[in-house]
Amino acid sequence: MSDFPFLTVLTVLPLVGALVVALLPVGADLLAKRVALGWSLLVLVITIVMCLGFEANGDRFQFVDSYAWIPQFGARFDFGVDGIALVMLALIGVLVPVVVLASWHDAEPGRRSVKTFFALLLALESTMVGVFAATDVFLFYVFFEAMLVPMYFLIGSYGGPRRQYAAVKFFLYSLVGGLLMLAAVIGLYVASKGELGAGTFAFQNLVELNMDPDLQKWLFAGFFIAFAIKAPLFPFHTWLPDAGGQAPIGAAVLLVGVLDKVGTFGFLRYCLPLFPDATRSFAPLVFALALIGIFYGAFLAMGQSDLKRLVAYTSIAHFGFIAIGCFALTTQAGTGAVLYMVNHGLSTGALFLVVGFLAARRGSVLVQDFGGAAKLMPLIAGAFFIAGLSSLALPGTNSFVSEFLVLIGTYTVNSVVAIIATVGIVLAALYVLWMYQRTMQGPLNPAIPTTLPDLTRREAWVIGPVLALVLALGVYPKPVLDIITPAVQATMQDAGASDPTPTAISGGGK
């Protein structure tokens, strides 16, 4: 660990970049794009340096930065990452440059400002980093809500035809959750005041509170609903297909790839450790919702004719697995859930990116506007296929490892849930393969102009790194697992859970 304030820099730097891009002269669109790309790559480099300096078996929270903020509330600028937050920061670091490059021409057709688009992306990156890096609950809440604003404008200004509706729905759903969480945050603060004498928001202190189980249930509910809307868990999911379907591709990748992970991250960071008793009482309910989500998401994905909505629905199914992994309260399942969060970001990100390529060529994301397209665009079809396989968790791709860990980790404590969830894998194969078949295989749809180009160089740079990570993590996930496992162990310890078979822990690390 060095003394360099990595997390502060990572939070502030993209915001500075956003201001720089926003202040560029009007019309300097290309410059704005280049600055945004360069800036996001700089953030990526700093993130990588930080990851290399992270000691997997060191302190739970590393790169801790702490500054006084509002002493009257006991709120501080406290930053620190455990393994879970670190891998999420790495995911953000990778996805943002990819998204910037993928959105190169996205803002152009409209009369909207190009530089504003990229400034919003960088501002969004800043809030996303902040939300994972904060260890002060108040600061976390600030980023959690602030995150909505850039995303709202990205969807509302640059999205599809029903963008207004989608943006408002997204904002209102998130705000409802956020305000319920605000009530719980205040409740937590008052509880800490009652027990410690002075109110605090520091995670490390809050974990040690001994709260009354009834109070825990109420506060848990406040946090849980906010995270369940964010994640999104059935029945709080209805905003996602609209938002994901209407958002510009770049924003959709970040929305589903990263923003939604804040929900599952919140389960692990806040719900489990802060409210262990309530977690145990609510776990069966969460399992039920997650299982419904897995099947509901899968069936609706099959029924979609819009590729973006389809991908959004697959995410709802995947979030079911992640939620089960979080609430199974075993290290294995928890590790699997965290790895799944990373993997889902990559595989769904890849799917959205390919859909974006298709949309840019065909001007449509409807399934019936394609068919046999693989003949024209073999490389894009190949990328689509790999991304799809990763989404259905084929062995050899990244998602397999995580899904497997979640399922065996869950099986040791609740075999029924694990078995039912396994059926969901079959459905995943169905919707992915069917989607691929209808768009890429079979006779060429005569409506497709035969002049459509295959993958361009820029697009290759967009999708290449993501697919490389998909395959690399599928074959050799150990480095990531090594980082995640101690953090998950600590989380489960806070939640008061003990693993049923001690050997399972070592199994998780292999």
């Binding site: 903020w69 009257q72 305000l179 319920l180 605000l182």
Partner: protein, 487 residues
């Protein structure tokens, strides 16, 4: 003004100076009106008024830390009084800048002394330690406002209707207040707050006098604060009054009204809190919900802001119901930060104009973000602050009052408050959608380039809303230190 006939009371001039400056300047303003030639009148009046407010603010700062009761125990200058007087002075400057600006529909120059009288009355209102002085201050602050409401140059009927409505209802509320004072005098043989405090429980007279008196007093005060069910005047008056005056009422009158409510409840009736607190909580709940729900249905921007101000009165009442120093401090902070945001919002309203004045119908604002991105961005920022999004002062203030209420055990109040916050976010959001995501209307309103004064007021609003959201520490600290009433 505070002298009585029989004995000359001791006057602590240093403590009274903020008010004396304003009343003095107001009287001077009347003379200016009479003797200064017409072309010079406007700059002289505006300069005089601004100077008076700045000096008054300076004297408030110099008096910081004072804890004294002066003028025959009729005026209490303590932490809350000084904090509120300072807020009134600064917010008064912000609103006066709007009034002084050339881009606004020019108000007659009489408006300046009237505003000063009103602001002086507000300063006395929050420092009154005696119910009769409080009543006098109430009238001093209200009468100029009734006049000011009727001064609009355009849409005169609407403006005059607003003035008459405000006057009639205001007079009615004042009558309630006075009746309450009479009943309380019957209970305690005194109208001083400290005597009332001592009389509670030891008076031996019927509690009916106490409770009925308190209830009537509160009706008068809650009317000024714009709390439901005494809010009916707010939308009409806010809509009809000239916009700078609306800004003045939304910011300063609110500060004054809540300052008085805090003082009366905390100083005189602390020991009857078991009687009034449930009522106050119920009023707060209803105010938040009614304000938020009706805001959703509005199609006129000024009416929307009026309902938003009603809902905000409910949020502020949460802080009042929180009791204790924490409740007082959070209320003080809320009043100051909300005032800046609301003056800023009304300043924006002034700038978006049609052929016949301000374009306040919502549909006229469609696509404004496309035509004047900066103004739309500023207004969006204010709306986000109203909605309580973090990194704006609105979030910190809401957090403060909810935390105080929850700390005081009012869980249900906070839950209702959170729900109301969700509801009221919708109209703000709809407005943002309208400005950014809708196509501009073909013959849309023009956006006036703000004059230096309006620009200064806007800049003050943006800076305060941002700074109090990001580094609220200093003002919170000030509010905490200023939260002790002197009895």
């Amino acid at each position: 003004m505070n002298t009585t006939g029989f004995t000359v009371p001791q006057l602590d001039y240093a403590a009274l100076l903020p008010m004396l400056v304003l009343f003095g300047a107001a009287c001077l303003g009347v003379l200016v009106e009479a003797f200064v030639p017409r072309p010079l009148r406007r700059p002289v009046q505006a300069g005089l008024a601004l100077l008076a407010l700045v000096v008054s603010f300076g004297t408030v700062v110099l008096a910081a830390g004072t804890q004294t009761i002066t003028a025959g125990r009729a005026v209490a200058v303590d932490g809350p009084a000084l904090f509120l007087q300072g807020s009134i002075a600064v917010l008064g400057i912000a609103a006066l800048l709007l009034l002084a600006d050339r881009t606004s529909d020019e108000q007659p120059t009489e408006a300046f002394p009237l505003v000063l009288f009103s602001l002086g009355g507000m300063m006395l209102f929050v420092a009154a330690n005696d119910l009769l002085i409080m009543f006098v201050a109430l009238e001093v602050l209200s009468l100029p406002l009734y006049l000011l409401c009727g001064l609009a140059r355009r849409r005169r009927l609407l403006s005059q209707e607003a003035a008459v409505k405000y006057f009639l209802l205001g007079a009615f509320a004042s009558a309630f207040f006075l009746y309450g004072v009479a009943l309380l005098y019957g209970y305690a043989d005194s109208v001083r707050l400290a005597d009332l405090y001592r009389a509670v429980g030891s008076s031996g007279r019927s509690d009916a006098l106490l409770l009925a008196g308190l209830a009537m007093l509160l009706i008068g005060l809650l009317f000024k604060a714009g709390a439901v069910p005494f809010h009916m005047w707010t939308p009409d008056v806010y809509q009809g009054a000239p916009t700078p005056i609306t800004a003045l009422m939304a910011a300063c009158t609110k500060v004054a009204a809540f300052g008085a409510i805090l003082r009366v409840l905390q100083v005189a009736f602390l020991n009857t809190r078991w009687d009034w607190r449930p009522v106050l909580i119920a009023v707060a709940m209803v105010t938040m919900v009614v304000g938020a729900v009706l805001a959703v249905t509005q199609t006129d921007l000024k009416r929307l802001l009026a309902y938003s101000s009603i809902a905000n009165a409910g949020f502020i009442l949460c802080g009042v119901a929180g009791l204790g120093p924490a409740g007082t401090a959070s209320t003080l902070f809320y009043l100051a930060s909300y005032g800046f945001t609301t003056v800023g919002a009304f300043a924006v309203v002034m700038l978006v104009r049609d052929a016949d004045g301000e374009a306040t119908h919502l549909s006229r604002w469609a696509g404004l973000g496309r035509r004047s991105p900066l103004l739309a961005a500023v207004f969006t920022f204010f709306l986000l602050a109203f909605a309580g999004i973090p990194l704006t002062s609105g979030f910190i203030s809401k957090f403060g009052v909810f935390a105080a209420a929850l700390d005081g055990g009012a869980v249900a109040l906070v839950v209702v408050g959170v729900i109301a916050s969700m509801v009221i976010a919708f109209p703000y959001l709809r407005l943002i959608v309208l400005m950014y995501l809708s196509e501009p209307v073909p013959d849309g309103p023009t956006v006036t380039v703000p004059g230096a004064f309006t620009a200064a007021s806007l800049a003050l609003g943006v800076a305060a809303t941002l700074l109090l959201g990001v580094v609220p520490g200093p003002l919170l600290d000030l509010a905490n230190r200023a939260s002790e009433f002197v009895r």
